[in-house]
């Protein structure tokens, strides 16, 4: 029984980490048809902004969290105005934006390295304590990651389905020109989506760095995992990315216990390959993807 609980807890924690990374990436793809390869470095920046606010400015943690969200939103705006908007008229937008954001990610990662150095740091803004379930102990930070991933999923779903902004985003995603004719400020929608994605990424980076640590390459591994989850779910499906994250993480951790830890991730990748052979558009992806 304890072993089963242990696997469940670990699976949910890992799933939460995968989901946190994947939601923002999936949102931008769904709304803009843009694979933002700088998403990982936005996680990194989020972690470092909170660290700097507390360590260098002596800010209390709520201020640090707000500063992190603000920085994430600003970076989202910057990515739109500095990169995406310039490339939107390019007929090969889908491809060139990938290259451009890879370059941006490399530049930002090196800026972090120059400013903070390569020495890893612990994240000062983190939850302390733990919850005991029988003989199993769940650190509070892990619980925070799980809860945050559920919350973000619901917030994004509510934003898209219940709000005026969400309707504008969906309209723009379905047909940019028609949305413009109907009075939707398309350019503002683009900027809003990237800003929202930036906020999600920065908070994710703050939470993940509490489990891992702060280093200039903090976002690299979550970016890889987020990409995998989005591919399995079908790019653009925000709930799908979160569901895929939890399902695959539970399989991974069960295999890790039953067959040995070394087999967990390879088997996860095998499942991804099988999924893509059977459903190239992803489990919850639409057969014909909508592009802006």
């Amino acid at each position: 029984m304890d072993v089963a609980i242990q696997i469940l807890v670990t699976g949910l924690t890992v799933g939460g980490m995968y989901a946190l990374s994947a939601i923002g990436l999936s949102l931008v793809w769904g709304a803009l048809g843009m694979l933002n390869m700088a998403h990982g470095v936005l996680l990194t920046l989020g972690g470092y902004v909170a660290f700097a606010a507390v360590t260098y400015a002596g800010a209390p943690w709520p201020v640090a969290v707000v500063a992190t969200m603000g920085a994430g939103a600003l970076m989202g705006f910057f990515i739109y105005h500095g990169v995406a908007r310039v490339l939107l008229r390019n007929p090969e937008f889908d491809t060139v934006v990938i290259i451009a954001t890879v370059g941006l990610a490399t530049a930002l990662e090196h800026i972090v390295l120059l400013v903070f150095g390569g020495q890893p740091y612990g994240q000062p803004v983190s939850f302390q304590g733990s919850l005991s379930i029988r003989t199993i102990n769940v650190p509070a930070q892990n619980l925070a990651v799980m809860v945050a991933s559920f919350l973000f999923m619901m917030i994004v779903a509510a934003l898209l389905s219940k709000t005026r902004t969400g309707r504008a985003i969906r309209a723009t995603a379905q047909n940019r020109e028609l949305a413009r004719i109907l009075g939707v400020p398309v350019e503002r929608v683009y900027a809003q989506v990237l800003a929202i994605s930036g906020v999600l990424a920065s908070i994710s980076g703050l939470l993940l760095s509490g489990i891992t640590m702060l280093s200039p390459t903090l976002g690299d591994d979550p970016m890889l995992k987020a990409f995998i989850m989005c591919v399995v779910a079908g790019f653009g499906s925000v709930p799908g990315a979160a569901i895929a994250a939890f399902a695959l993480a539970l399989v991974e951790q069960t295999v890790a216990f039953a067959l040995g830890a070394r087999w967990g991730f390879p088997l996860l990748l095998l499942l991804v390959i099988i999924t893509l052979i059977l459903r190239p558009q992803g489990v919850l992806g639409r057969v014909r993807a909508i592009r802006l």
């Binding site: 390569g118 020495q119 890893p120 612990g122 830890a261 967990g264």
Partner: protein, 432 residues
């Protein structure tokens, strides 16, 4: 810094500085000598940047000190650095070749680069340059053994990772036999991750466990990186061993291991590889890391000999810098500079005859640096390890065992006893 001022104050360089200054005096000439270019291919960006930057600091400080002592026979050292980013064989070999082609370096002194399969040695051999590195790999020894004539100029400034295996077993047995530790049983669990360094150490522990009276109860390979230890801990709790040896080395992952282990611990001693030497391990794990033991086959010793180096390093690079890492390349530069001076000078690339002379002097010259004694094994050209390999501490680099006894302070050196600054303390979770 002036030469006189340096000699008056820097006892860290001790005999090396005096010897080098004497050699330089003997060779003093009126004309200004051209600098001796040497290079380093370091991971200054990418995931190993933290260590790469410290290696650079060690090189810079060594250049400052060696030049203050007169350089190599009056010729000042001139350092050139290439970034190896995420490392790998292609990037590192290209970086090293650029150092040769652009700057005509006489020697290359690296920290470590991973994923190279020791192909750096071929660049050094093909260009007849002297090469010192701290990759800490047994594959270096094997490659030199395969062709000692070709790889005459390739040296590994520390013992290979293999010695972590027999070393930790010897440490555990000594601890048990001396009555300092009451072992739960004779079982040892090995947790490793999928990279050459961790796997070689884990295999060495498994291969030698029986020789030291231990039985391996678990051999688990985890992904790299890995911060969720639930399945592994479940296995450890099902069959608790006397000691858990974790050869995975990322500090954040090891801190997470302790955070997840401590609420429901087994009565096991915990030994970990490398990661606990970094401040991030303590920052993340806090109280949970108290009691953890780790070891290093190279690192600045906390003794009076290394104290001036430590002080100069922190004064120059800040209190949060890591002289434990920078000390490696610092000693490497000194050892090479002395050997080059003894050989009559550092040659340009391609001057095989003179380079062989420098290599011969380096092989024969035992150097007591801030990391302990470096004496190269003939035919393998990596440093001897004390006490795992040699019994005389003046002939081997100490395999240092350190324990986190208070996470708010630096870990304590608890073995070898000759160098120890504190005694082993029973981990707080062990109640035997």
């Amino acid at each position: 810094m002036t030469r006189r001022g340096f000699l008056a104050t820097a006892s860290a360089t001790g005999m090396g500085a005096t010897l080098l200054a004497s050699l330089n005096d003997a060779m003093a000439r009126a004309d200004i000598r051209a600098p001796v270019p040497f290079g380093s291919a370091l991971p200054l960006s990418g995931f190993a940047a933290a260590d790469g930057i410290e290696f650079r600091h060690g090189l810079e400080l060594a250049v400052e000190h060696v030049n203050a002592a007169g350089g190599v026979l009056g010729r000042p050292l001139q350092l050139h650095i290439e970034d190896t980013k995420e490392m790998g064989a292609d990037v590192v070999t290209q970086a090293m070749q650029r150092l040769v082609d652009r700057y005509k370096v006489s020697a290359i002194i690296n920290g470590y680069n991973v994923g190279t399969n020791m192909v750096e040695m071929d660049v050094a051999a093909d260009n007849h340059i002297l090469f010192i590195h701290y990759n800490t790999l047994i594959s270096h020894n094997n490659k030199v053994k395969s062709d000692t004539h070709k790889y005459y100029g390739c040296f590994q400034g520390d013992p290979p990772e293999y010695w972590y295996g027999p070393g930790v077993l010897l440490f555990l047995r000594t601890l048990s036999e001396s009555g300092q530790w009451k072992a739960l049983n004779n079982k040892v669990a090995i947790v490793t991750s999928a990279n050459e360094y961790s796997v070689v150490i884990a295999n060495a522990i498994r291969a030698k466990a029986a020789d030291y009276g231990f039985v391996v109860s678990l051999f688990e390979t985890v992904p790299y990186p890995n911060n969720q230890w639930g399945p592994t801990l479940a296995k450890l709790r099902k069959d608790p061993p006397a000691a858990i040896t974790v050869t995975h080395y990322l500090p954040q992952d090891l801190a997470q291991f302790m955070l997840q282990f401590r609420p429901n611990p087994t009565q096991s001693l915990i030994y970990m590889q490398y990661g606990p030497s970094l401040p991030a391990f303590r920052q993340i794990g806090k109280e949970a890391v108290n009691g953890v033991i780790y070891s290093t086959v190279i690192g600045e010793l906390p003794d009076e000999f290394a104290a001036p180096f430590d002080k100069a390093y922190k004064a120059k690079y800040g209190a949060n810098s890591a002289p434990l890492i920078g000390s490696q390349t610092y000693d490497g530069v000194w050892h090479w500079a002395l050997a080059a001076a003894l050989a009559g000078g550092a040659p340009e690339p391609g001057d095989e005859r003179q380079q062989r002379l420098v290599a011969e002097k380096l092989l024969r010259l035992i150097y007591r640096g801030v990391n302990g004694s470096c004496r190269y094994i003939p035919g393998e050209q990596s440093a001897y390890c004390y006490p795992d390999q040699v019994r005389d501490p003046s002939l081997g680099m100490p395999h240092q065992f350190r324990q986190h006894q208070d996470y708010t302070a630096e870990p304590q050196l608890i073995a070898p006893s000759l160098y120890a600054t504190a005694k082993f303390v029973q981990p707080p979770w062990v109640k035997l």
